[in-house]
Symmetry: C2
Subunit: 345 residues, 2 copies
């Protein structure tokens, strides 16, 4: 059993905690609490062991049963999953994690790539086997890497141009916008393109991004130039149906149909609830069947990314990889089965 601790109990941390609890080969030793809030209160009600990041007075004063300090937690685990906001993971690494010689650490995509090995399970699991520091890349990068790697494996990619239409904030946040505006990202490329290359260094990908007033999911519109037939395409150009079939067989990619009434991100989120997914999450990347097409040697498709949850299975697989579990495909199968991801793939 891998003994796991979670530092940071926000949108990602609480989901990774739930996911760890469902793994047959993992034991949740505890989570950290930075301060009192409704999330910690629920964790306390569920009996999840809570360790104080700082002073315990505020937590105890609010009825939270505190098991010990963060150092007590870190001394008693094999692997820490850091789910704190960006830059805090780096500080935690330097202030805490490096002091525990046998501790493995998983970070989130908000941290810079230097913090550890960038990881997307179905793309580069093997590169993180036994690594001390592994970085699960961001939700957008994970979404891009999953589908692009799947395509590239079958039909080598010449170049990718993607526009990311990003949600403004998460559903549970009330203090951010925009409420009624489209906010362009003026960095060229947006940071997502270079970040994809930390996982898939051989794919030339350039991204631009805007932020829009929605909370549910990100959307990506992609144009993918495929290499010419005969170059190294292992055969011929695909049809749209060929790509759809490959996506259907791939892990963590779900093909959705507008004919079934799924015409926007709103219906995807409702679909996830109807499927009975925990918290209504959709961890698969959703690609619209009708929105996928071939134009010359160029593939177009649109995909939706549930920013709160799609990186949860990656965190679970990253734990196994860091701990030295060598069979990436088996890890993905266990994770998918325990978390209720789509059956095929």
């Amino acid at each position: 059993m891998y003994r796991v601790g979670i530092i940071g109990y926000g949108t990602v941390g609480k989901r990774v905690t739930d996911a760890v609890l469902r793994q047959p080969d993992m034991e949740l030793v505890g989570i950290s609490a930075h301060s009192y809030n409704y999330r910690i209160d629920v964790a306390n009600q569920k009996g999840i062991p809570i360790y104080a990041m700082n002073d315990i007075t505020e937590l105890s004063g609010n009825g939270i049963q505190v098991k010990g300090s963060i150092k007590n937690l870190l001394s008693n685990i094999d692997v820490v999953v850091d789910c704190t906001p960006k830059k805090i993971g780096k500080a935690n690494k330097e202030n805490y994690y490096v002091n525990y010689p046998n501790l493995k650490a998983i970070y989130q995509g908000g941290e810079k790539a230097e913090i550890g090995k960038s990881f997307v399970a179905q793309c580069n699991y093997n590169e993180s086997i036994g690594q001390k520091h592994v970085r699960v890349v961001s939700c957008n990068t994970t979404g891009l890497a999953r589908t692009l790697h799947t395509i590239d494996t079958h039909w080598p990619i010449q170049r990718v141009r993607a526009t990311l239409i990003r949600r403004g904030t998460d559903p549970a946040d009330s203090d951010r916008g925009p409420i009624n505006a489209i906010v362009p990202s003026l960095e060229l490329p947006s940071h997502h393109g270079p970040d994809v290359r930390t996982v898939l260094p051989n794919i030339e990908v350039f991204t631009t991004a805007v932020v829009v007033p929605t909370t549910l999911m990100h959307m990506h519109n992609l144009s993918v130039d495929l290499k010419e037939v005969g170059e190294d395409t292992k055969g011929k150009m695909p049809t749209a149906d060929d790509v759809i079939e490959v996506f259907k067989k791939a892990p963590r990619i779900r093909v959705v149909k507008s004919s079934s009434g799924i015409i926007s991100t709103a219906e995807i989120m409702e679909y996830a609830k109807d499927l009975g997914n925990h918290r209504g999450d959709m961890m698969d990347i959703c690609v619209w069947e009708k929105g996928l097409g071939i134009h010359g040697k160029e593939l177009f498709y649109a995909q939706a990314v549930h920013q709160e949850s799609n990186i949860v299975p990656e965190n679970i697989d990253a734990i196994r990889a860091a701990m030295g579990f060598e069979d990436g495909e088996e890890s993905i199968r266990i994770t998918n089965r325990t978390l209720g991801l789509k059956e095929r793939g």
Copy 2:
């Protein structure tokens, strides 16, 4: 004086009416009213002559002074600007306009391209000189055509890939969405690409689109492959500054700076109000200076399109073109000056 009538008094019709009233060479003979509403009430208060599309009882009963029937209006004008919702322009053409041998008609971009000559003043004014039926293309198509034509004139374009992030509805509508979702357009290409080619047939442009929860403006993220140096580029590849300079000199394109605090479509609309623009409109296409860059032989930029107003100056120029006024540049100058568009260009 060109005697002008306006059919349809919604978002576009009321703006074209205001614009016609400001032209030194046009006389507004009247507008049509389909039924009573606050827009017609304001027109009535302003003393604009109103002609009834149907029965006058409802209008009269609400205190609107009706000058006559639609046929009275059409008999008394040189040119009609049809600003009705899509498909109604076609019906009006067949049921009314064709019965007046000397009448010229201007339609909006919601109509199919077959209805008349597609028109964007700075791109193809000359093609519509003396034409009986002219179609001002949609706000998105106009926005794409303005900047692409400007680029192509200086550095020939190989191909264009654009993602359109469209506003859900106009600010004054309360019955449409989405409120919290991103809705992909699943047609490939979206209709905008082919529509641009009705104006610029030699530019290979492929568009995809999503609709998002905002009312203010559309946003376009463009990737433009320029032709190789030596092919027919008349010189060399541009730098980002070269393109910015060309945009600054072009009509109806405004370069905006994030350093001035314009970081989204919201600030552009506020900027338009601060400039004193009538109704707070922004008829220029706004390109972010910082968001424009060259990557190899590819040009990236982001532009915002005020869907309610950017086609207003085109309607004015289309009137002149249809009426046989031969100097397109002079028409653009008159229109820009009278409507308060940016001075340069």
